[in-house]
Symmetry: D2
Subunit: 349 residues, 4 copies
Amino acid sequence: MSKIKVAVLGATGAVGQRFVQLLDKHPWFEVTALTGSDRTVGQIYGDACRWVLNEPMPDYVRSMRVVPTEPGLDAAITFSALPSDQAKAIEPAFARAGHGVCSNASSYRMELDVPLLIPEVNPDHTALINVQRRQRHWSGFIATNPNCTSTGFTIAFRPLHDAFGIRRAFVVSMQALSGAGYPGVASLDIVDNVIPYVSGEESKVESEPCKMLGQLNESHVVDASIKISAHTNRVTVIDGHTVCVSLEFDRPIGPREAAQAMADFKAPSIVQTLPSSPRCVIEVRSEADRPQPRKDRDAGKGMTTVVGRVREDPLFHVKFVVLSHNTIRGAAGGSILNAELLVAQGIVS
Amino acid sequence: MSKIKVAVLGATGAVGQRFVQLLDKHPWFEVTALTGSDRTVGQIYGDACRWVLNEPMPDYVRSMRVVPTEPGLDAAITFSALPSDQAKAIEPAFARAGHGVCSNASSYRMELDVPLLIPEVNPDHTALINVQRRQRHWSGFIATNPNCTSTGFTIAFRPLHDAFGIRRAFVVSMQALSGAGYPGVASLDIVDNVIPYVSGEESKVESEPCKMLGQLNESHVVDASIKISAHTNRVTVIDGHTVCVSLEFDRPIGPREAAQAMADFKAPSIVQTLPSSPRCVIEVRSEADRPQPRKDRDAGKGMTTVVGRVREDPLFHVKFVVLSHNTIRGAAGGSILNAELLVAQGIVS
Amino acid sequence: MSKIKVAVLGATGAVGQRFVQLLDKHPWFEVTALTGSDRTVGQIYGDACRWVLNEPMPDYVRSMRVVPTEPGLDAAITFSALPSDQAKAIEPAFARAGHGVCSNASSYRMELDVPLLIPEVNPDHTALINVQRRQRHWSGFIATNPNCTSTGFTIAFRPLHDAFGIRRAFVVSMQALSGAGYPGVASLDIVDNVIPYVSGEESKVESEPCKMLGQLNESHVVDASIKISAHTNRVTVIDGHTVCVSLEFDRPIGPREAAQAMADFKAPSIVQTLPSSPRCVIEVRSEADRPQPRKDRDAGKGMTTVVGRVREDPLFHVKFVVLSHNTIRGAAGGSILNAELLVAQGIVS
Amino acid sequence: MSKIKVAVLGATGAVGQRFVQLLDKHPWFEVTALTGSDRTVGQIYGDACRWVLNEPMPDYVRSMRVVPTEPGLDAAITFSALPSDQAKAIEPAFARAGHGVCSNASSYRMELDVPLLIPEVNPDHTALINVQRRQRHWSGFIATNPNCTSTGFTIAFRPLHDAFGIRRAFVVSMQALSGAGYPGVASLDIVDNVIPYVSGEESKVESEPCKMLGQLNESHVVDASIKISAHTNRVTVIDGHTVCVSLEFDRPIGPREAAQAMADFKAPSIVQTLPSSPRCVIEVRSEADRPQPRKDRDAGKGMTTVVGRVREDPLFHVKFVVLSHNTIRGAAGGSILNAELLVAQGIVS
């Protein structure tokens, strides 16, 4: 079987690099184009890109030439690592031109006819693509993955919401530096320090999960009626977002039931066979002091959500800690898994 | 006027060193004794102590000889920097022998007849000392300061509770390394990492503020009926605990009113004149990204509580961030301020 | 006595801020102007400047309006915190217009008629100012301070070179983040990492000390014939450059003699009375593991050079470690001390 | 072919864990015993060991029971991760009892009849084992790997010394935290700091390379006549020692020739086929700012030595930077590679 051709839009940035790295030797996808800004167009990727990942730059991209971010690429799927202001204008142009856009940008996440997608959480929401195509007269489409901080705890919420109904949630993040891109956070701002603020983050974290946990209803999603309050913070960690969560359910639930529900959670069977799908969706740890970003972010090659410290909450019902790799599961890896789902569902071929 | 003689119990540890440093050139107190463990007794302090503070060791202690931690020292006040297991047995012996014990240990904080004290919050709770002396037949006494994480947000809660009545509070800490003492947290555990766990911390943080904000009632304190849920975390910061807070009041209160109440807060006049009293009790900052530990921990020489990001909370009423220096305001400095209050109230002389 | 009026050129950058902070309440100088780039001109400093120091912004500058970096300011001395490419063109214009320029920029350090100055090292080199004025027909002048890495070890070299004659020196630096300005080093580049490279640094470190330790000879300085090899590295430290040094002398010298010479070193008497002059020029420590940047950078308010681990070198004669505060002694503080010297010498009034 | 049985002595410590991790699924070796201290003996490894590596504990060890560190284990090879004071007494007992001891401890490295071994550097030095057995009447033996800091640059020195003759070397290290074991360096000592001292390190770094680069001569090694001066420092890096090197050769050599010699270096063919042998022994990078520990330590699964910044030295001939993974190539991985060599040479079977 020949591979599906894909492109990476904004391939020289930090998230773009993660796409490039994760698509190396991908069993289904073949990267045919890397796009960049005016500054880099025409250069070979190995020269154009200041590589920031620890993993070395894959050989396959070194001598690929960076092309402009314009529709017409030889690619059924285009992975968008564009900044949201650029994504706003560019992604619809690609969808109109027939490309499937799997986007990490926030620009279209909350549009009614755009799926905001985590395969283990809401694989049926891809049905919005039909609505989107009808309404917008696009031959391609846009499908999005959520914000890196929303991702981890929304996965943890899925089995809990199904079993017990979540009413209210407090979430407080301690986010990694890679979430801010490159150069991102200045070292003078964060060494021996915490920045208790991540621009634009709290409103995303308070809204995106409700869409993903909502019910698909003909032409749109009816948001789950969960109220979320978020505090988002930046800490001195390279990769891996840690989130403290307190949950109130429809009825009193104890930590044991909650932990069991998360540990038992299985992805829908169509998702389990996807190449980037982790064997274990949620790993529930029993140690007093886990999860920790440096030690747990690479679980399931960065695609497993790690939960720990599940315990009673004196105000609500249960509290715990969630850890998720922000540039793999929470960005490029999540977007690639979405594309795989769309292929498995026959939406892209 | 001659100075009051004081001793530091457990003077070679990290908190003990902070007492030693803050008592250098104190206008009211004169350090007459430093106590240590068997290992250090008999040595001069300069040799016995592995000094961990950035500020250099004060000259006055270098050649003082470390003595055993036993009652009978020439000191009206003994500042206890003992570990709580040792404090349990030793502090009552000192109180029985007539010493006033101002303790940073947790052992007696929640005893009904022991004041848990922040001068700006509950200076009247020192009346428990009379109860304590009657009940225990002590000529001395024990007065305690709260846990370093409780300290900062309890100060912020005082004006809010008085004005609006706090019902429920979520508090999530990002705590400094110095809170774990020395050697404390191994560097291999915390570089490029977060530890979402601080042993024994959450139960203290959920209970101590209620005692401090409670009403004195003849022989004991009736706890404030505030329900608190705490998540406590360790981050890569030398000094300064950052706490994210969400508050529910008796009635709907907006961020503006809450910020105003905190900014307007004044210490009782007897407290304002104490030598270690900061000019500004609570500094409310308006920047989007403050307070930050490295930049704000030294406000008011480490005695000011810095609050920022006061904003609406989607679940409760108001959320904000509190920053407090954990080894100054939250430990040695807080304990010294307590001693100064006791002197000003005539309880010690 | 009325104060001498001074201006800070490039006042909103990281070094500019350090000038502003150190000039607060200066006994001799009064800041009359702060200059900035087109982006900031016209704004008040409190708004124009993203303040990066831990010390709060001094009140005196908050509402000063940023002016263009053009000659004609009401200032006898202008402290230049300009980037070297801008300094190249701007500083001569100021000197020509009659301003004394005390510059932290590298642009003119190695010009034959420009003094490269550390008051304790070569106060007589200010005589070059006369040469400079004659040759360039300037009523003002340019005087420079060395690179932040050169500064510390050149001070340590002064008494050693005088007493024993230094022939060859290996110097390997571990430099602080603040040396790169703001935003400077990206956190993603330096957390859990070392960058064994500082752009342009090694050539400065290998040449500047020879000029400063050289002999003034009519119209120029004859460089000291010391050969230096430098490796410069960036490490995860906020402030304070640590330098490992190995020295070969004209004759075999042991660590004891070297340590003694450094400890005994006194500034010339004209320098000792300058307001920014540290009481102790070189502090020689005897512990096995000092100096350390976090613990020693603030010695002498950041103006003292701290030396430790003076020991025998198997290849050359002696090796040791030097620590110096890079933005105080190695930049703004050094430049201010130079200006004070020029005032004391009657060159500026 | 059945696997060779091996044991890990001191298996619960930081280096012991690295042995356990690297021996997981080893093609030649099978771990039959893990030894520990009195505290851990009798417990299963999963409980006895506070696992500090990022990689998860391998399944094969979880339920193995920790046994005392005493000869008589069912193991042809015992890997010693013992502290050097314990190794001093225990390793000879194992060798006497017929075990081959591949030791990471420093106790016997400099003994005349004990090979100090890096397979790519001095594979012929294993001939000392015969001398050792004859002289000590041991049926087993002790073979050692060098100090973690010596390892990397000694590998880089091999081709240079062969081609050009090294006379003198300055080496300045910036060492990772994991080199100090666990708990090792306190976070309060190293965050925002450098410790310019590693206990006992400099004398090892100045002597071990000369033995390894020496000539085997009947019964012992004649040290290479290279003079080395070392400065060793601790920095805030988890893994990976960075070393700045300046070299003087027998004749003037330029950076290009030196870089070429290192890049061309091949391991002896017997070494190339060993399971832990990296494909590339020395990787020479051309970027201005590499190698860097976080980005280069995992080259060749932590077994490749990465060199960069090869340039002219103003005092000697050439200077460069060497990076080596200290707990893999510089400890457990190096020791395992030694054992593989001994098997390939037929010394162990």
